[in-house]
Symmetry: C2
Subunit: 244 residues, 2 copies
């Protein structure tokens, strides 16, 4: 059973301020909770149904587990339905990554669903580091974690002063714009930062200053724009085609 205090904590961790104060975040859903086992993250507690705990007893025994009904879990969770497991996990202390290899930079991408989808597609293309302007969505927002579909444990997101970071990087910065060189023709370097802006504002001038190559996804039909996560996926595919 989930105690009153535990329920209070679970609910509190839906809010950014509380996540920061506690240094903790929530991982919701069966698939996401199981992904924790192979991740370097520190799990404080797992709340799950007796069925889930029994089925995965061998891998969950390393954690402090609390048995709860599906009803209790649904009440405690920000997910709408079908939530057989929730974990409370420590927010890892991460240092900003060195600018090397292939990376993603996000400027003002404020929607947690988009950020989560970008983490998932980054993981598909084996990109391990995302640097993001401090006004991007919180990587520990439950909606972000959910949209990563388990990839949150393999991709590190660092919120930081993005223009300063780009200024100090000595690898190419490929900025995605509506006008630029077609990604079908770009010769990508083996190391580089793919810089994506938000759908509404694009890459903002403070970050744009440090773009070395403006690139674009060629349009053939009538749509005016692409969702930022979709655009990130398409560009990463073009990058990995050259540097797999």
């Amino acid at each position: 059973m989930i105690s009153k205090n535990q329920l209070k904590l679970l609910r509190a961790l839906g809010q950014k301020k509380q996540r920061k104060a506690h240094g903790l975040f929530l991982v919701e859903g069966e698939k996401n909770v199981l992904e924790l086992v192979d991740s370097p993250l520190t799990v404080q507690q797992v709340f799950a149904t007796s069925e889930f705990l029994a089925e995965h007893a061998n891998i969950l025994r390393q954690y402090e587990c609390v048995e709860a009904s599906l009803d209790e879990l649904t009440k405690a969770s920000s997910l709408v339905s079908n939530n057989a497991a929730v974990a409370i996990v420590e927010i890892p202390k991460v240092e900003a990554p060195k600018a090397e290899g292939l990376m993603i930079a996000l400027d003002g991408v404020s929607d947690p669903g988009n950020l989560g989808t970008i983490i998932r597609i980054a993981d598909w293309y084996d990109i391990q580091h995302i640097v993001a302007s401090s006004d991007c969505a919180d990587p520990y927002n439950p909606k972000t974690i959910r949209a990563t579909m388990g990839s949150f444990g393999r991709v590190q997101v660092s919120l930081l002063d993005l223009p300063s970071y780009l200024e100090q990087a000595s690898i190419p910065v490929y900025g995605a714009f509506l006008e630029g060189e077609s990604v079908h023709k770009t010769e990508f370097s083996a190391q580089g930062i793919l810089l994506m802006g938000s759908e509404s504002h694009g890459v903002r001038p403070a970050a744009e200053r440090f773009v070395t190559d403006k690139i674009t996804i060629p349009a053939f039909g009538g749509a005016e724009s692409l969702n930022v996560a979709m655009a990130t996926g398409i560009i990463l595919d073009n990058l990995r085609r050259q540097h797999g």
Copy 2:
């Protein structure tokens, strides 16, 4: 002001059964309503704020317009916020397209958000026809229309008996599977049908029988799967790179 009967109709059109009975659907949001002007669709009525009507008076005068407050519009709409315009539009009578050129086929893609995103990315890559199994999401669901970001007027979706359609097609059927030829290496034909399955079930056996080429998006990292809309976008980009 929106009358009681009008409000009743607007609300009813949120449901598939009612859309079918009336032969009408809703187009919500300013950008989507403005897209109607250039589309072949027949608009019955536009409900909008006085500001929206005044700003676009010259293009909206061809329609029957009803002035309403933002409050009224929000109550009438399935959108959460910021809805200055809603239109009631006739569901067009469309015939199943001939299997020619580049097309998309969807097997059991039941999420309206995914379908809308696929319509948007199809429009970006100038694909005008989507054929979909009859258990796919309703192309006239308000959530589908919203996710198309205005592309609903340029891409035709036909729900039909998908296996029969594929059986009669004389152009290649490229089926997306987790195992197949890498899209980075596939030589696509200038005409073809890109067949996508749902995230949970993939392409089902009844449709798989008619696949001529199994293709896959090469994975480099740890993610196990891609969202179906994302995968559609990435494959279309690979197709258009060869046949722009």
